[in-house]
Symmetry: C2
Subunit: 204 residues, 2 copies
């Protein structure tokens, strides 16, 4: 069970390749052969390091899930003022998704109709407690006349929709709406624009 430098590097190469392939083609469409090729090893060795396709996938998927759920948990648990929180979550999600643009599609697809893995991670990350706190914060902002009436979960869903969907729809959006535009640049500036768009909509 000792790990030398070489084998650690091999493991990391495999994970990097697996992230790429699984994200691009999904579990069913991914091929162990292609992952091995991308990692610069052969199939047998791939199976030597990661017993099965299932096991390898599960690791990649959990990793991806954490990248999405953890920022949300932080947002919900944050004690800052509401508008500042909105700026924060938009910025963090844009940062993460500029680095890993495939995350929304990957997760939404592979979760399909079974959200059990999400459920478990939610508890681990403490989403539940933070959620109640932020719901209450939004309700108080409405009661005090700071923002217009809106259902708290829908406000949060709106922020997440505006932050994630453009990444999920990037190839099609490029053709349909952003022909010739550098979407990487667009996304960089979009974080604050999404926050502005939301705040403008709810503030009185």
């Amino acid at each position: 069970m000792k790990e030398n430098k070489k084998s650690l590097e091999a493991r990391e190469n495999i994970l990097a390749a697996a992230r790429l392939i699984f994200a691009a083609k999904g579990y069913a469409g991914a091929r162990m052969q292609e992952i091995a090729d991308n990692a610069g090893i052969n199939k047998a060795l791939l199976h030597y390091y990661y017993k099965s396709k299932d096991k390898l996938f599960e690791q990649i998927f959990q990793e991806a899930l954490v990248k999405i759920i953890r920022p949300l948990a932080s947002f919900l648990a944050d004690d800052s003022e509401l508008f500042q929180k909105i700026r924060n979550i938009s910025r963090i999600y844009h940062e993460v998704l500029i680095e890993y643009p495939f995350l929304p599609n990957f997760i939404l697809n592979e979760i399909s109709t079974d959200p059990s893995r999400v459920l478990h991670l939610m508890n681990v990350e403490g989403v539940l407690v933070g959620r109640e706190k932020t719901f209450k914060q939004i309700e108080e902002a409405i009661a005090s006349g700071k923002i217009r009436p809106i259902n708290p979960p829908e406000l949060i869903l709106n922020i997440i929709s505006l932050s994630m969907f453009p990444f999920a729809s990037r190839p099609i959006a490029q053709e349909l709406m952003f022909k010739g535009v550098d979407m990487d640049e667009m996304f960089k500036e979009r974080a604050d624009q999404v926050a502005d768009f939301v705040i403008q909509s709810i503030k009185i």
Copy 2:
């Protein structure tokens, strides 16, 4: 090549089953056996009606693409006043997605990085001409002080994000934000709320 009532029904059963299975599992994850079972026929007969998995999939996928692209084309070509157009597109997309909630995920996944099929359909549906018209309309609304400055394609992207992402993320959103809530009901009321949210954000 004559088609009797029975075979037409068989064809329709197959398409209905294929829509279900392809949408739920994607091209790679779908099994011809499962489609045949769902259609109440056997595998050989399935191949008799639709030569190959590829051919069957292509038909289902085109169908799905049209359901998404056509409303967008109508929106872009519409001569109505801007705020009314925003209400219209939100309503139409919510109607379509309440009936076919799986469309966003299905299309976004299967298109992956190759948008060539979308490109072709765009021309057929006349998206290009409508797009320029609506971009101009938005720019004029900004120039005349009716709405705040915003990049026209981003405004449209925002509307579509708010309309589609909640459907794509439904299973995970249910767990995370809408525990115990009837999301079908929520979606019915959401069409106008999305339009209000957008209009509230841009109007002066």
